[in-house]
Symmetry: C2
Amino acid sequence: MAERPILVGIIGYGKIGTGTYKTLLDNQDSIDRQVGRPVRVKRLVDVDWSSPRPVPIDIPSEMKATDADEVLTDPEIAIVVECIGGTEPALDFVLKALRSGKSVVTSNKELIARHGKELFDAAAERSLDLMFEGSVGGGIPIVRPLKSCLAGNRISRIMGIVNGTTNFILTRMSQQHVEFQEALAEATRLGYAEPDPTNDVEGLDPAFKLAILASIAFETRVQVDSIYREGITGLGARDMEYAGQLGYAIKLLAIGTEIDEALELRVHPTLLPADHPLAAVSGPFNAIFVRGSSVGEVMFYGQGAGTMPTGSAVVGDIIDVARNIRSGATGRVACTCFEGKHILPIEELETRYYLRLRVADRPGVLAAIATVFGEEGVSLASVLQMDASGESAEIVWLTHTTKERQMQRSLKRISELPDVHEISGCIRAEAEE
Amino acid sequence: MAERPILVGIIGYGKIGTGTYKTLLDNQDSIDRQVGRPVRVKRLVDVDWSSPRPVPIDIPSEMKATDADEVLTDPEIAIVVECIGGTEPALDFVLKALRSGKSVVTSNKELIARHGKELFDAAAERSLDLMFEGSVGGGIPIVRPLKSCLAGNRISRIMGIVNGTTNFILTRMSQQHVEFQEALAEATRLGYAEPDPTNDVEGLDPAFKLAILASIAFETRVQVDSIYREGITGLGARDMEYAGQLGYAIKLLAIGTEIDEALELRVHPTLLPADHPLAAVSGPFNAIFVRGSSVGEVMFYGQGAGTMPTGSAVVGDIIDVARNIRSGATGRVACTCFEGKHILPIEELETRYYLRLRVADRPGVLAAIATVFGEEGVSLASVLQMDASGESAEIVWLTHTTKERQMQRSLKRISELPDVHEISGCIRAEAEE
């Protein structure tokens, strides 16, 4: 292949930068042939070249740089790969790359979720590519399938397990009957959880991903702050156990639904029927369900994070950009947020609920609670009385479909009943009536 | 949108033609905006306009034609969608379209599997697109993910349930404990099986699909005749039952594996551990597992056939071609069969085997069989003796990993033993040792 290579600069040589560079090296011949021109990394930028990398690779010293400008101002470099994460200085770097006429590949979910509009506008202005397949679901193909393969569908729902850390924790809680803190400690020990796990366990990471997926699926720029969000820190091993007895698994789901041109967007723990394909997704795996007007339901499953899986997604994007450069067609797939669909407040949600209450073990308590539910229009599907040990009893309810507003009002009133000690759990349930 | 529309001609207005046209109509505004130019069907061709369609749509009479040339020779039409199936006259039509400078979309698995090289050469000669996402897995995105998202991976394995008819039959046999013929009759009644189900139940349809997937995954043009193939007609309800007792499900799998630059390609019933994600794929659904060097394992799941799901895939391709036309970039992703990897004969296969034998219920029979296995180097993992009723007994074995050649030699010798009445089943097993 005598043709002039397409040159790539990678900014950030941590996990994802390493996975990207290794994937490009490992499969170089095939990639060159698929693109029709050689694709070569010219320069790697990192502020720290001394710390060990997840995969050791010998890098010629002339390729190493510490200043991003050595990539951003190099006129030979056509594709900039942003692998530093976070929004600062990633945003500046990506904007500078686009304004210098370079296409960009990133797997930075926060960057795309928070600054998507500004970035896509900058890319469109110069007909450049801005690709971000790795920002959701690691190596799982989902962005390109939504933007191309399923582009003829009107998407009515997207529902996924998009955070491997919390799915690992929930799987452990469910299978080993341990509490959240113990499962989190194990996740940290095994490297599935960051030293500061807040963004994962509080549901912010899945909210970034839902913002990205929903923006594509519903053709509306979704801000992460408009997504209702609950993490998994309030879940107990008992909830997993009781849910299991009722025939459900508990998963942290990111759910986007279009209802009459409006969007319902939420991240929270959810009861899923045990035979639902997402219920079987365990450990650090991710899976995303999509319901489209023509395709029906499709699911995408795989490793949602990690050095090499994310590297796979980033390199897929690099290949796609390189093909566009070769064909003179960068910018051929642009942002598709044409609509400004209204986002429904969580109070409008209609779903089923699992409730766990600790109450005095005394006649009349159940009746008092049931009366409140009745008055508020909440209809109960089943009730389990558990663990009646001496003074208190644990009661688990599953409701029929109810409005969130009615449920919240009921819970407030119930929490004020004298014989109710604690509302230990209230978890939304995806369940057929 | 004042720009000149990109015009489409659809040849064949049966199930897939209808699903395609309806999907284009239903989501027209969104498709136009995603492409950046209007995409319109100018003409639909079918030899018979009188019979009822799966979805009734009013079609203006000036759009209806009975002669394919009304599409193929129309200089305004830029995209030809082939929806007639089979190879004659589809091959002629597609070649004529490409030679007339029109890009082509098809979901015709037999056409792509049998004539891929000729067709891709014709497309490449004029830098045109030939897209075929719907040829495998109906609406499930798999072709484009392999050619783009996962293009940076070296694929070592692709394994899928790619025929909904047989998966429906096997699910029924397993869940309702009915025999093949009864399950087939039900599949026919429900429209899941064709009046002549030979291509499905004999495994030819999945072999076409494997030829397509393997050609992409392994960068080698795979001929369907080089794929080892066994259908499901020899399976009994008892096999499903015994497999279940051993912790397995039986699925008709299409499996392609690369081993030291050579390919192992096969379609046959397979025992899968009950906790494998493919084991849970039931009814008419399809799912495809892919193992890549960077991505690890990913799975794609959905409805593998049908009017609207296949229409979804075809329209996704139309949108992609239209974007290429708009960007002057048709032909940007061409055929990737750069290699000519050797295809291993089935005798070289190494796997585990499930065996079901009917033997005389007499001392020494087991010993005689075990002696043959021992002499042929076949090691047995477990044995179940079932149904010893009077004169004969049924024995079920699961072997350790064995070469196909040794297994065939053993079975030949065992079938000649005087007390062996019948070898009722021999099914390969995907199972960890």
